[in-house]
Every structure is written in C-alpha cells, then in structure tokens.
Amino acid sequence: MAVEEKPLYYLSIHEAQQLIKDRKLSPLELTRSVLDRIAAVDNKLHAYINLMADSAMAEARAAEAEITRGKWRGPMHGIPIAVKDQLDVDGAPARIRQFTQGVGDATAVRKLREAGAVMLGKLHMSSLPDADLPLPRNPWNTDHITGGSSTGSGAAVAGGLCLGSLGEDTAGSIRNPSAFCGLAGIKATYGRVSRHGLAPLSWSLDHCGPMARVVEDLAHLLNAIAGHDPKDPTSSSISQPDYTSALHKDVKGMVVGVPRDYIEECAPRTAPIVLKRVGEAIDELKSLGARVEEVKVPTLHLATIANAVIYYNEFWAAHRSAAAAVLKTGAPQRRARIYLGLLTGSADYIQAQRIRSRCRAELAQVFTRVDCLALPNQAGPAPLVKDVGPIDTLFKHVVPEYHGPFNLTGLPTLSVPCGFSENQLPIALQLVGKPFDEISVLRAGYTYQQHMKWYERRPPI
C-alpha cells in the first residue's frame, strides 16, 4: 500500500483522500506526520510564518470523528493544507495587511474549511512588510530560492510540510515557485476563484489558485475553491465543471499551439536547458497524440510590460493610504512598486489597457484553432539565494517573459514539471487554455505528468 511505501507527509491529496475515505488513514495521523515534518525541517526551509498546530490537531480530530460517524465530506476532508499570507485566515495575523489578528476567512479559505480541510497555518510570501524574516529555501537544494511571491507555498508543498497550498498570482507568483520547486500549480481563469479576503496587489490581475505535488490534487483543490462569490465583484457565474473529469490520460485530437516567435524573442534571456526541456515536453505531447501547431500573437512581446504597468499603477492605488509607512519601513519590493506606480501616468495605464484588449483579441483568434498553448514557464532553474537581490524578481516583470501575458489576459494557466537541470533543479512547462477551459490544460498536464512521472522524484531534504 502507498502508505507503507512513502512517508505520510509525501502522500498526494489524491492518494490520501482515498485512504481516508476507505478509513485506512486517519486525518489525525496524517496531520501529526506533517506537523512532525514541519518540526524537523522548517528550520531549514522557513516556509511557515504562523503555524497553527493546536487548531490543526483539533480540526483533524473533528474530521476523524465525523468520518468515523460515516460523514465523509469529500476529497479535501481531513487533508492538511496551508495558505500564503496574502489570504485572510480567521484567527491568524495577516502580516501583508499589517493586521495583528485575522479578520475572517477569505472565501477560498472558507470553502476549503467547508470541504473539511485541516488548516495548518500561513506561509511566507516575498514583499511582506517585515522584510527581515528569513527567505524560504528550495527543498531541492537549500542554497537556492523557491521563487515567488508564493515563496512559502513552494517550499512547504515540495518539502512535505503540507499536502497542498493556496497561492496568489499577479505576474507569475503561483507558476514561478511551482516551476522552481517541481510542483503543479494552476492560475484558473480570472473570475473563477474568488478574490474576497485576498490582500490586493492589483485588482484586475490578482488570481488565487492552488499549488500541489500532482495535477490531480489541483483538480481536487479547484473543485473546493472555485465558483461564484457575490463578495467578489469580478467573480464569474459561469458554471463550474468537475475538474477531476479532466483526469484521463489522453490528448489525442488536442491541438497544442506553440508561440515560437515569442519563445525565440525571450530565448536570449532563457537558459538553454529550459528551452531544451520544454521542447522535449512539447515533443512528448505530440508523441502522445496531440497535434502541435505554431501560432503568432503579435502583441505578446508588449504584454509583460502592459501587465507591469497595470500592476504597479493598481498597486499604488491600492496601497496609497499606507504609502508613507511603506516608504519608511516596508520591504524593498514594496517600496519599489510604490515608486514605479507613482511614475505611471494615466496615458500609460490606458495604453496598457488598450494593449490588453488587443492581446486578448489576438489570443481569442488563436484559440479558434488550438486547445491550449505550450511554452516555457521560467527563464532558468531556481537561482542561488546569494545571487538574488531584494528587488531582482521585479526585473522579470519588465522584460518580455512567460508569465505576465496570461495575467493580463486572465487565461487559465498550468505549470507542470517537465524535467530537471544539470544540477538537479526542477524545470516546468506552462500550458495556457481558453477562458474558463481549465479542463483542457489539466487534461494535457495530467496526461504528460502520468507519462513522464517526474513527480516520483523527491527533494533530498
């Protein structure tokens, strides 16, 4: 049985939920295993900024009692998870908002609780107000960063410090740490997952979404958190499918578009090993039955910049009342965003919105011919901690790269591991779908994952 083959804390949600449902695994035992793991290695990974061990054990005990009484709520029941500090959690301080107490659950957190998940605590994110917190380390090699800004989510999920996590993505913040830490991560279509209770970075670009070790876990997490929320004015009422319906190994007949021109434009800033691994992954999708077609999206090269312009301008607007304090004591990333937002004029913001409209129209045209796009997810493997300065991650927002265009256009985007670098650091493929068609990217990602089985490797920590 899988339970005997690997530590409980490394079970996927998909594996654990089946064992819990069959009463072969107790939520209490699982939560205790994860808490022991946290005690053993988080002094090296620095993922948690607020561990809620006592309440987590109480929740696990309640889940166990409920399941014993025959009331199994579904796949998330009794599963220990943790969330990025950007999401409000009742009873927990939100450092990003500089609250000393939680103010209630974010909608996505509330939905996870209703699904029976066990809340372990809150995870580090870069650009927290108190910048002197230790930076999370990459479980594949602790000399390297996890990527951000869902820094703690990357470290915690990859290191076995929770079974899944919620992150937030404004310019790649779910996909980047997922790629660097060898995880699956998805930013669903804008409007699909409620932003209520999510501290805003940029209202029109922020996406809340799950990070996990395998694609099927993303389907379970999305099933729990997606759906209309009247508390979020941009929440969509489009009906939500059962995301586990995407979990069948088949891409036959799918058409995968490759924006070759754009990849070549970004190539001088992309490590050759990334281009190699992504090329191999696209070839695998082809060998599995997908048809691969080159596509052109002429304004894609401006989309990252437009994303940054909207990001910083909306960040400035959202954080204006706290700007004086941020400039005095805030982390360098927050201060830099304030300056860039202040330098962005209304004509710049409007031009960025016009590019957003144009880019969206071009992609809509492309998606009349293809089911998803495939392209790299990162410029290189995770850099060394010592090589990354306090604002270096901002630079990727202002040169054409792989994440921003899909925040700008709000499209569903999946990160799935596609191999390792020469020094054994993870590399990922990015799959982009039509609006509200998360199913296609999950299906393509799941098929590829099951064929290659990169998830079977575990970090050495």
Binding site: L327, A347, F395, G410
Partner: protein, 63 residues
C-alpha cells in the same frame, strides 16, 4: 539616475506628501530607468482605432 526621471519622481512624491527613503533612488535607479524605457516602448506600437474597451469582463467568451 537620469535627472529628468529623478525630478519627476521627486515631484510626484512631493505632491503626495511623501518622501523617498534615503538611498532608494540610487538603489532602484536601474529598474526605474528600465521601466521608464518600457513605458516609451509601450507607446511605440500603433494600436490604430483600438479602444480601451472594458477593463476586464470575467464572462469574456473569446468571441
């Protein structure tokens, strides 16, 4: 940092009643100058009659 950019930033900070943290302008000069160059690039594209359009519609159908 380019003098024009620095003067501009100082002016908008002053308008907002704010002050840059000491050494920030020097520390962040590279990204600020790159960003200003990007703003110029953003306006270099001919968008013809492209309108602003809705900022974002969650129900965008792709049509």
């Amino acid at each position: 940092m380019n003098k024009l950019i620095e003067d501009n930033l100082t002016a908008v900070l002053k308008r907002e009643g704010l002050e840059a943290k000491a050494a920030d302008l020097e520390q962040f000069s590279e990204i600020i100058e790159l960003y200003m160059e990007n703003l110029r690039q953003l306006h270099s594209v001919n968008l013809g009659a492209e309108e602003l359009g809705p900022v974002f519609r969650p129900e965008w159908s792709g049509k």
